[in-house]
Symmetry: C2
């Protein structure tokens, strides 16, 4: 009887759904905690990370990417600039455009102490899996991400289709 040593399949599936939801929750909460500790709002940190990840971009591109209005972007840049985490750089070829340039060194100095221990812990956890297991996890995430993106697209399309394009 394998049911002695193995929980029923459906129960395991339900367990995965539960812990993956918890993962989203704890990850969001950790992000907010880090932001508050870094003296930023959660959204400001989120968009700062986006700027760093995508590299320098214009205010308009960021507005489109985040789904925020240009007015909100102006305020966002103002706040980040005051903290020396980004700077405005006016384009030479088109002086209307303003590039938002991340000052990565300053951001790292603030964030790294907060994230480093956690990052190491997760690395060790990941190293406890073998290559095949990691590929399973990778495959799991890829499927969910694909489903999430298509659901976002589909639901947005149903009615007022505006929002972030992250």
């Amino acid at each position: 009887m394998e049911s002695y040593s193995h929980p029923p399949f459906n129960i395991t599936i339900q367990a995965v759904r539960t812990v993956s939801r918890q993962f989203a929750n704890t990850t969001t909460l950790l992000h907010e905690t880090i932001a508050r500790q870094a003296g930023l709002s959660p959204t400001d940190l989120k968009y700062l990370e986006l700027i760093i990840q995508k590299g320098q971009m214009t205010a308009g591109e960021l507005a489109h990417l985040t789904g925020l209005t240009t007015g909100a972007i102006t305020g966002l840049i103002d706040r980040l600039q005051k903290k020396k985490l980004v700077k405005r750089q006016y384009a030479k070829d088109d002086r209307r455009k303003v590039f938002i340039v991340p000052i990565t060194a300053n951001t790292s100095r603030i964030l790294e102490p907060l994230t480093h221990p956690q990052s190491e812990k997760i690395l060790r956890h990941l190293q406890s899996f073998d290559e095949g297991e990691l590929l399973t996890i990778l495959h799991f995430f890829n499927g969910i991400n694909e489903a999430n993106l298509s659901a976002i697209h589909q639901i947005s399309r149903a009615k007022g289709g505006q929002g972030a394009t992250l």
Copy 2:
């Protein structure tokens, strides 16, 4: 001697980190999309889900759980009550206390059409894994969640220790 470098291994680990971050992002974005489509703010939906998940509770308990002030909770309940998604129920034994009772039927009617297709898709994805693979995924999530919670606790403790207890 550092020659035991498995070339693909570190790359796979990095890939898992990337897709798990994307998972958090797409999940959050999907949640916001669903909320907007349901006529709720993302935070209102988040807290409504919490009320449903934990079952009925008093306003003060919700305030403690979410990290919001009691004033914010009053506003939250007002908004959800106006939409008939929760109701206030004054405790018999202590008439200061107000229980927030979720009206699950109304919430389901609004949310289910939005979430059902996605839920089915994810179920099918999960069913494509065998039991052992699901247990691997489960183990992965459990480790991360534990690390996240301890990091939240540790970072919060470092300075102003206030926030949600979700």
